[in-house]
Symmetry: none
Subunit: 211 residues, 2 copies
Amino acid sequence: MTTSPTGPSAPGDQFDDQEVAGLAARLREHRLSSRLTLEVAAARIGLSPAYLSRLETGRRQPSLPVLLGLARAYGTSVSGLLGEAMVEPDPVVRGGAIEPGRAGGWGYRRAGAPGRAMQALRVHVPPGVQDAVVRVHPGEEWLYVLQGRLKLTLGDRVHVLAEGDSAHFDSLTPHCIAADSADGVELLFVHTLLQSPGGELCLGGGPAAPH
Amino acid sequence: MTTSPTGPSAPGDQFDDQEVAGLAARLREHRLSSRLTLEVAAARIGLSPAYLSRLETGRRQPSLPVLLGLARAYGTSVSGLLGEAMVEPDPVVRGGAIEPGRAGGWGYRRAGAPGRAMQALRVHVPPGVQDAVVRVHPGEEWLYVLQGRLKLTLGDRVHVLAEGDSAHFDSLTPHCIAADSADGVELLFVHTLLQSPGGELCLGGGPAAPH
DNA sequence: GAGCCTTTTGCCTCAGAGGCAATTTTCTTG
DNA sequence: CAAGAAAATTGCCTCTGAGGCAAAAGGCTC
């Protein structure tokens, strides 16, 4: 296709859409956010730096194996690389939402206005306080580490974020956080409540430690 | 890749996994479940029947455009065709250097995952650069000053925010921002496309007040 | 057996994937 | 600002393999 000299090619001749265009940008984004040079990233994936550069500038289109390799290397899916709308293929609804419990010992203060779809908080998580509760609720969450190191558990993966790192995830992903540094961790926390079913995000609970 | 005559090709040389293998079967499945002949389906997608047959028997691998065309024609996603586990994009974005230049003198770098309702950016606004454009759009906006002083105009009021201050307002409020310090201002910027009435500012200095 | 429909295969072409090496650009550092 | 190093891009080449066409198999029904 695409070629067919005489080809009327049926409806939809140019697939070379946003998707493919966005791919290049997304590839670069992924690599940069991991602070990798072309050389390092390429080696890791099994490509030449030159070729990777071409992919990131949209001058080449990856073959399927390469595409899969890229997705794997960057810890994402092909769908993610293509910026594809996340179409849930199966209508299966996973097991019930877990009621958020309380974890004590955190201090926080509102950093945004209350009563909105989006909530922003500045939170201090003292060391040693384990957030044993796994949270699951609708909406989106974003956080940014201001100071210290954060241990963020998403699903079954544990990420350690340093100062300046941020995370963005679906609140439906079971998640819990804890400090990973001696004097706790300071972070900004923004979340949306797409349909808030009474489930107010309960960060505080315990005695609000200052700062 | 795959080729590289001398190529050690790093870890993970055979991407030709289940995914690619399954693709063939899935293609056939999709076509048959629609009761289409190769000829009809191929015409619809814009391929030759022969080639489609080869794809369905795993003797060829589709290029990216073809893959997208197939997904579209069968009303599914690439991910679906590949039988990919729906892997959420890596939620962690490492902090790092801000890309200079882009967007009218501003430097910014995505701090959250793309393609979501909520977008997070880390922005550096150089001094002197006036954001002449007054923005108005649906959604909510939140920002946090990491460094420097920010002049924020909301409607007809001008606010000056210092380090640690944040603002939360409705994007429908005409707004524009500028640096108010010699070496520009560094800020975190989160916005949603959701709706919500009202709009206020939250000045906050240090760590603070509880709940 | 002959017609008809669908799928597979042989064979060809040529675009383009992908590597290498040289060049240019960007970042450091004196 | 020049010198050097590191990163990114580009020129050029090769050769795989995508993808078309047309002929060759199966599979029907009559």
